[in-house]
């Protein structure tokens, strides 16, 4: 059987976090609008005679993203009309950018390598530009990023559709890659990194379930070793990473099957049916793609001068990649550990906050944050930025564990207490009497009692069932409410058990 490889390109539509819409002064916070059709005006509902005016902030944010993605910012860029009819598009055209987008020719390095083929030939894509290092990933070329406006929201009813124009005209940035990716994993890696960057820049919340970030995947397959680009299909409106990966994987398999059966792939737009987990054809009309782009006559061109672009560049924060490298060197973390912490800016900031207040090694701070802290906020579906525990408190808590004032299990108890009721860790230790006890006399008493109370288990242990030891340690922790120093307890337990063997 022929071996195939996939050719994947991604388009990302990201709403930009502005106060007002792209071309009018209506609030862009449509998600928190009190009622449908309340953030509307003649411009964003396409009333006759209304005219657009460009939102300065949106231009700044688009520039910021372009710079973060190593793009050329086009000093001269223009708006264009994309003409098509749909009830969520009030003017019958979408104002977008076409021939001259705000940003072009950038790249983003990802960790997932391109396993089956060398990088596609082309600008910015020769192998020498791959990030250095063993098993390193690949460079995804960004073809362009352009500004456009979002559409209204359509709710499909049984025999009708309901239109809410609150979202119509919200600024969008569309980021388009070259078809550089060869695996679904690479596409997911790229998408995840773009999301992180957008969040770092404060351009987008990254809340996929609210639809502020949407993917489109262009997919084709070809036999490994072939250089040709075969007909591609486009899967629209992928609103989650899960949908992105499942739909892409499905479509790759589908195309391979078609070729294997001697069929051909037709260029078409597909939708992803999340329930049946299949891609479905969305339109076959031959006129569907004739968008009749032309320069938007209602908007003069943008002419961004160098100095202004540099002033935006100066606003670029440290991005995930750079932060990861810094964490590795500065905190002696493993790359994987650092990458986890920098996956979200709020998390990285929190980590650094704790490290700066703590006397413990950064590695210890990392394991507490990656472990108990994450478990808690995941269980509570809490956002890192909403965590009520001040980094100082968390630092104090970790330091008490490091200097053995308390044991690890007491630490967990205190962390839960900090999350739910707040307070000072030292105070909680006192109030709840959680300080660790290393006093052998006290622990000996407890161990002796447990052995006396559970003769059957002692017998089992002596008969060779060593796992029972762990159960006994648990009993000790329970009896002492976790205060007993586990090292001391274990030593004494083993000693007493050996005595009984005799």
């Amino acid at each position: 059987m022929t071996q195939y490889e996939a050719i994947i390109g991604l388009e990302i539509h990201a709403e930009m976090l502005t106060n007002s819409k792209m071309f009018c002064g209506c609030s862009a916070a449509y998600a928190s609008a009190p009622e449908p059709n309340t953030y509307i005006c003649p411009v964003c509902t396409g009333l006759p005679g209304a005219m657009p005016v460009v939102n300065k902030k949106a231009v700044e944010l688009a520039t910021l993203v372009g710079l973060a993605l190593n793009c050329t910012i086009n000093e001269h860029n223009t708006f264009a009309r994309k003409n098509y009819y749909y009830p969520d598009l009030p003017k019958g055209y979408q104002i977008s950018q076409y021939e001259l987008p705000i940003a072009s020719k950038g790249y983003l390095d990802i960790d997932t390598p391109s396993p089956l083929a060398p990088l596609p030939k082309g600008e910015g894509n020769d192998d020498s530009l791959r990030p250095a290092g063993e098993g390193s990933g690949m460079r995804v070329t960004i073809r362009r990023a352009h500004i456009e406006e979002d559409t209204a929201k359509l709710a499909h009813e049984k025999n009708s559709a309901l239109v809410d124009f609150n979202r119509a005209g919200v600024p969008l940035l569309e980021i388009v890659t070259e078809p550089d990716m060869r695996t679904v994993e690479a596409a997911l890696d790229y998408a995840t990194k773009i999301r992180a960057i957008l969040r770092y820049l404060g351009v987008n919340t990254g809340d996929m379930e609210t639809g502020v970030l949407r993917f489109e995947a262009n997919i084709s397959v070809r036999p490994v070793g072939s250089e040709e680009l075969r007909t591609r299909t486009e899967i629209k409106n992928l609103n989650s990473f899960r949908a992105l990966t499942r739909a892409s994987a499905y479509e790759i398999e589908r195309q391979i099957k078609v070729y294997e059966n001697g069929g051909i792939i037709v260029q078409e737009t597909l939708g992803w049916d999340d329930v049946r987990e299949v891609t479905v054809s969305q339109r076959g009309k031959e006129d569907a793609h004739d968008y009749r782009y032309f320069p938007e006559p209602d908007l003069p061109p943008l002419r961004l001068d160098r100095a202004w672009i540099e002033s935006i560049r100066a606003q670029l924060p440290e991005l995930p990649e750079a932060k990861t490298q810094r964490f590795v060197t500065q905190f002696e973390l493993k790359e994987k550990e650092a990458r986890f912490l920098t996956s979200e800016k709020a998390l990285a900031d929190y980590f650094e906050g704790v490290v700066s207040k703590s006397k413990s090694p950064a590695k210890t701070v990392h394991s507490w944050i990656a472990g108990e802290f994450m478990r808690y906020i995941n269980d509570a579906s809490m956002d890192v930025k909403d965590v009520p525990v001040a980094p100082e408190s968390f630092a104090k808590l970790i330091d008490m564990i490091t200097d053995k004032t308390i044991g690890a299990s007491a630490g967990k108890t205190i962390l839960t207490e900090l999350f739910t009721n707040g307070g000072d860790p030292a105070q909680i230790v006192k109030e709840k009497n959680l300080a660790q006890v290393s006093d052998e006399g006290f622990i000996l008493e407890v161990v002796t009692k447990i052995l006396n109370d559970n003769p059957k288990e002692v017998e089992q242990y002596l008969a060779g069932k060593e796992t029972i030891l762990q159960w006994m340690m648990g009993q000790i922790a329970r009896t002492t409410k976790g205060k007993a120093d586990p090292n001391v307890a274990r030593e004494l337990l083993l000693k007493l058990l050996e005595e009984r063997r005799k």
Binding site: G25, C26, N37, Y39, V54, A161, V163, Q282, D287, L302
Partner: protein
């Protein structure tokens, strides 16, 4: 370059522009369009090899507005002209297929 705009082409552009059209209309427009396009082809006489398109020329550049929220329009006011509304939404017939 002479080209006739046949009824098929007329129907195609009518569909692109979402204009309902009858066969008789397509017939009528086809003849008129051919004459008009023929007239437009006069532009082919002009050498424009090194001429930039005028769409790049504007009265102004960088006309930007501050990102301030302005009061929106009253929904009832908006709905006064809307043919069909329901529960605060503009109502349209079923939407089949994508755009």
């Amino acid at each position: 370059m002479t080209q006739t705009i046949d009824t098929k082409t007329v129907k195609h552009v009518a569909a692109l522009a979402r204009l309902g059209i009858t066969d008789e209309e397509a017939e009528k427009f086809s003849g008129q369009f051919s004459a008009i396009i023929e007239y437009f082809n006069m532009l082919n006489e002009v050498d424009t090899d090194n001429v930039p398109p005028a769409s790049d020329i504007a009265n102004a550049e960088n006309i930007l507005r501050e990102d301030d929220v302005q009061p929106s329009m009253n929904r009832e006011e908006f709905f006064k002209n809307a043919p069909k509304t329901e529960r605060g939404y503009v109502k349209v017939p079923t939407v089949l297929g994508d755009e």
